[in-house]
């Protein structure tokens, strides 16, 4: 495949799509799919056929459009000859029954939002902060292209970067470009990507591997899943460029078995890329060959840690090992191995295509580019967003997210999942970049962002994450295996209203111990949710241990009298939830 051949495919595809006056895109990524998006697509297809508009209307299934909570989402785009921009109308909460009205609205062209609402549809404005405050690089094709067609990806400049890199650039030039772009790993730790690549490239070994970490383990985050479901070729292209740069011939994508749709789209994408000669032997007629295989994870959070992930690909129990040696020197089957996150790879093709300076202009001094977040919890607009680094938490939660609903009071935002922390209102104006989030005790993490209001008890939240770490601890080292159990036990005691101030002191001491003596990142960061909630919400801990009860009213008994507590534990009538659950 040469660059000319690629251009030709792109032009043919664009011309084929242009023949249709109207483009109707249905989001068929996981969120909308669970709302019945497939039936919506079928109904739209049927309607188009029945109204004899097959030559004018293209109905296609696309990836996540971002506003998942309003799904199933459908966009309608009509090419307007005279205007520079095309006209896009988005519909929310679409049902199969809406199909006739949507197709009818195509003919009327200039229908206003009011007209559409009168027809029973839910028009969703796209000129609102939720869409306008975002900056899309990783998600630029998400919600626009059909993830199961390589031609659609190529029509959006896909694989230009790969072919350019291997035919016109040396591996060193590729690495230099990634280095000077300032791209840092999006898997959590933020290690400079170019630096990691050059370490792997410098090893003299013959056999090297590239691994894409798609084991997204943060419970409440789905960024990588959305990228894989919506635009799988972007990840393959990034991996292939990386392989060329570091000199690897074989790649693996380690993806969660719980993501069947992502696996399906990846498998299709690999087959298509191989058929076009964009993966496989002698890519673009050069001496560069690269194959990608998929390995399924099996539901162990610790396998997101790079050395555990490698053990898992080798068919073993996924337990971490001490580093050094780092995988860059000795990884899969003791060969030099480059491991990057899905989103890291997804940034590579645009950087090669547009240049390092373009990327480096976005973001802050030390954190370049954008970050994808899964915004969820007690916030009006939940879904998938991509924002420039340096944006403040307040802008994300109040402008993009639309604030806390139901007239409730904001309490905290949790970033970084079980390894991160809870950030209180006083730090809402903190910019979102690696250093700033670390300064206030949390981490950037892989992109989970969960907003909590006054109804969440911070001790309970800390207990939730500790329970997670406890059950996910691989058991290899004692501080983490036994420490998370002890920490969880103390938190249980506190939420049950049975703890004393001495327990809180013990909790703090144990946090320090587990953090400093655990073998891998799981244990080292497991105390983070406890430490940040102790730092910012100490009064909630105090209330639980001094007999004032749980301020949020979530931990068993709000009043905190001993009799009431006993009743709650026995699940007797009068406990907080029994009224709701007995039918």
């Amino acid at each position: 495949m040469t660059i000319e051949e690629l251009r030709k495919i792109a032009e043919t595809e664009r011309a084929a799509q242009k023949k249709f006056q109207h483009h109707v895109c249905v989001c068929i990524a996981a969120g909308c799919l669970s709302g019945g998006a497939e039936h919506v697509r079928d109904a739209l297809n049927k309607e188009v056929a029945e109204s004899g508009m097959r030559n004018e209307v293209l109905v296609k299934g696309v990836g996540c459009m971002g506003l998942c909570s309003a799904g199933p989402l459908v966009t309608v785009e009509t090419a307007v000859e005279t205007a520079v921009n095309t006209d896009v109308q988005m519909f929310a909460s679409v049902t199969p029954e809406d199909a006739p009205e949507i197709i009818r609205s195509l003919d009327t062209g200039g229908a206003t939002g009011g007209d559409l609402a009168a027809a029973g549809l839910h028009p969703c404005p796209t000129n609102v902060p939720f869409f306008e405050r975002q900056k899309k690089i990783v998600l630029e094709n998400s919600g626009k292209i059909d993830p199961e067609r390589i031609e659609d990806y190529i029509a959006h400049d896909g694989y230009v970067a790969l072919v350019t890199a291997i035919t016109e650039m040396t591996p060193l030039e590729v690495i230099d470009r990634v280095k000077s772009s300032g791209l840092r790993g999006r898997g959590g730790a933020g290690y400079p990507t170019g630096l990691k690549w050059s370490t792997v490239a410098k090893t003299g070994e013959q056999q090297k591997y590239v691994i894409c970490n798609a084991d997204e383990g943060d419970p409440g985050a789905f960024m990588d899943r959305a990228v894989l479901e919506s635009d799988p070729h972007r990840v393959l292209e990034g991996m292939a460029i990386a392989a060329y740069a570091v000199g690897a011939q074989q790649g693996f994508i380690y993806v969660r078995a719980e993501y069947p749709l992502a696996v399906k789209h990846l498998k299709t994408a690999i087959k298509q890329a191989e058929r076009m000669g964009l993966l496989g032997n002698s890519i673009s007629g050069t001496r560069f060959s690269f194959h990608i295989d998929i390995r399924l994870g099996a539901g162990a959070f610790v396998c997101g840690e790079e050395t555990a992930l490698i053990a898992s690909i080798e068919g073993k129990r996924g337990t971490p090992r001490p580093r050094p040696p780092f995988p860059a020197e000795s990884g899969l089957w003791e060969c030099p191995t480059l491991i990057n996150n899905v989103e890291t790879f997804a940034n590579v093709a645009p950087i090669v295509r547009h240049g390092a300076e373009w990327f480096a202009r976005i973001g802050t001094e030390k954190s370049k580019g954008t970050k994808v977040f899964a915004l969820a919890g007690r916030v009006q607009n939940t879904g998938l967003i991509e924002v420039p680094m340096g944006i403040t938490l307040r802008e994300i939660i109040y402008d993009i997210g639309g604030g806390v609903p139901d007239g409730k009071q904001y309490k905290a935002v949790q970033t970084g999942g079980p390894s991160g922390g809870c950030i209180p209102a006083e730090h809402l104006d903190s910019p979102v970049d690696y250093e700033s989030l670390a300064r206030i005790g949390s981490i950037m993490g892989s992109g989970g962002m969960i907003v909590m209001d006054e109804t969440s008890c911070m001790v309970d939240v800390a207990k939730y994450f500790m329970e997670f770490c406890m059950s996910e601890s691989c058991g290899k080292c004692i501080p983490c295996r036994a420490g998370t159990q002890q920490l969880h036990g103390i938190l249980e005691k506190i939420t049950a209203g049975e703890a004393t101030p001495a327990d809180v002191a013990l909790l703090e001491e144990l946090c320090e111990l587990v953090r400093h003596t655990s073998l891998c990142g799981l244990g080292q960061s497991a105390p983070n949710p406890v430490v940040t909630t102790l730092k910012y919400f100490r009064e909630e801990y105090d209330a639980h241990v001094t007999g004032d009860g749980c301020p949020a009213g979530t931990c068993g008994c709000g009043a905190g009298t001993r009799a009431c507590r006993a009743e709650t534990r026995l699940g007797a009538p009068g406990s907080q939830t029994s009224g709701e659950v007995t039918l």
């Binding site: 996981a30 969120g31 799919l33 669970s34 709302g35 506003l67 998942c68 909570s69 309003a70 799904g71 383990g217 943060d218 419970p219 409440g220 985050a221 789905f222 899943r225 959305a226 078995a257 719980e258 993501y259 390995r295 399924l296 994870g297 099996a298 539901g299 162990a300 959070f301 898992s312 690909i313 080798e314 068919g315 073993k316 129990r317 996924g318 899964a374 969820a376 919890g377 007690r378 939940t382 879904g383 949790q414 999942g417 989970g448 969960i450 909590m452 969440s456 939240v461 939730y464 994450f465 997670f468 691989c474 699940g571 939830t577 709701e580 659950v581 007995t582 039918l583």
Partner: protein, 166 residues
């Protein structure tokens, strides 16, 4: 490197064993195919029983202890058969904040089973998942294969009843 001599002894003439064997063969019957092979067993049979573990050990020529070790380490694998119906409650952070514990409590009280357990009549298994990717619809659950978003405790009980006794 050892080469495999002869066809492996299949535990029975159930065709599914052939599918399992094919997975192992695709990976050259190397020990590193262990997890992929266990995935195939679970896909075919729904769970991993002793027979299956022994078979996988013999096909890949790894000690049974290592097969058992992997099968018990990874949460995705189950050594017990599931019930005829399965209800998966998401306990990811977004769902937890929005009331997943109440869903679990309701189901636990009604059917006297805890997550990971199956009712004695084999009708219903209660499972939990860490994020179904539908956080926008929290709290979320899956009954058999239908995803239920923004679901309340009463509604999930009603939905389970309908699933078990259609």
């Amino acid at each position: 490197m050892q080469t495999y001599v002869g066809a492996p002894q299949l535990p029975s003439d159930d065709k599914r064993w052939k599918i399992v064997e094919a997975t192992a063969r695709r990976h050259g019957r190397e020990p590193h195919a262990l997890i992929e092979t266990l995935h195939t067993v679970q896909e075919c049979f729904g769970y991993l029983d002793e027979n299956a573990l022994r078979f996988v050990a013999s096909v890949l020529r790894v000690p049974l202890s290592r097969v058992y070790g992997a099968a018990t380490f990874y949460h995705f694998f189950t050594l017990k058969p599931k019930g005829r119906h399965a209800c998966v409650v998401c306990t990811g952070t977004a769902c937890y904040i929005k009331g997943a514990p109440l869903l679990l409590k309701a189901i636990e009280q009604r059917y006297s089973i805890k997550p990971g357990e199956t009712t004695p009549d084999g009708e219903l298994s209660l499972l939990t998942a860490r994020c179904l990717g539908s956080c926008g619809l929290a709290p979320a659950a899956v009954m058999d294969s239908a995803v239920l978003g923004k679901i309340a405790p009463q509604d999930i009980l009603a939905r389970i009843e309908r699933g078990i006794h259609p």
